[in-house]
């Protein structure tokens, strides 16, 4: 993947990750049932902490993407 692709990946995962990680559940719950709150996946109820973990993983991907952009720019 080229620099531009890494940059786009970093931005997208950064926005999605920040959304799940930093915005309090109460603030977005009413408009965001479609965003997996209280959904069931293979019999496992998705809890708020699962989404925080997903957000953390997306932020890791975002960081690595920006780090890659930095490396490609050097």
């Amino acid at each position: 993947m080229e620099k531009r692709g890494w940059l786009i990946l970093g931005i997208v995962t950064g926005i999605c990750g920040s959304f799940y990680e930093f915005i309090p559940r109460k603030t977005i719950k009413s408009a965001a049932e479609f965003l997996l709150f209280d959904a069931n996946v293979l019999g496992h109820r998705i809890r708020h902490n699962d989404l925080i973990l997903a957000g953390t993983i997306l932020l890791i991907i975002s960081f690595v993407s920006f780090y890659k952009v930095y490396k490609l720019s050097k």
Binding site: E21, F22, L53, T56, I57, L59, I60, Y67, K68
Partner: protein
Amino acid sequence: MKTYSNFLFSLAVTAVMNALDMIYHLATGWAVHLNYVAIKLTVIFLATFMITQFIGIGKEEGIAASIFGPLMFYVYYVFAGPTLNREIFRLDEQFWFIFLHILLMMIAYFAAWNFISSKKFWTKTVGFVIAVSFTSAALYALFVMIRWKSAGIEEETAAKMMTFGFIIIPTTAYIAGSILGVIAERLSKKRFMDVLAAALVPTVIIGFFTKEISTAVFSLIFVFISYYMVHTFKSGFMSDA
């Protein structure tokens, strides 16, 4: 092969970091809880693996992974809702623990990295001993915690059973075993002798203290797994170089 080597390298770094972390927590009276260890393993592993896979391996990457992994774990702690009673479980969620985790992560990363890249015998050997023995200790601790959980032991009881004595005896046995393995390899010049010597010590010691054949057998298997991991990732990196 490169992905598999990176996978094993990251797994070993994560396991060593967690073993060191567990030892510190149990020595100083902090709780070690399976679910929290699982989250820590996931976050630290993913950060290390992604940096190793997409950026590379080296000093700068090691420092980046060592800072970023614990930082993301702290971020998770801050935003996740508490699921455990903090009056019973004293957890490592204070800010200053980031610095401890960074230090332990650096020890883990640079031990594995020195084993791969160092030309000096002692640096390489110390890196190897740390990588093999603490990976085995982490696998052993995880095995026991999972066994307790599957046996239906309550979280509170399991946390009380996790004492410093629980982890320090197997860790010491694994360190002694891996040092003996290095000596055996130097003396005999045969590859399998080091694994046999390294596996024998923890098997006997853990078997003696736990008086359980199954635990002793698993402690033996963990040495084989650790040896396989470190030698496989090393040969993977050497063939790429």
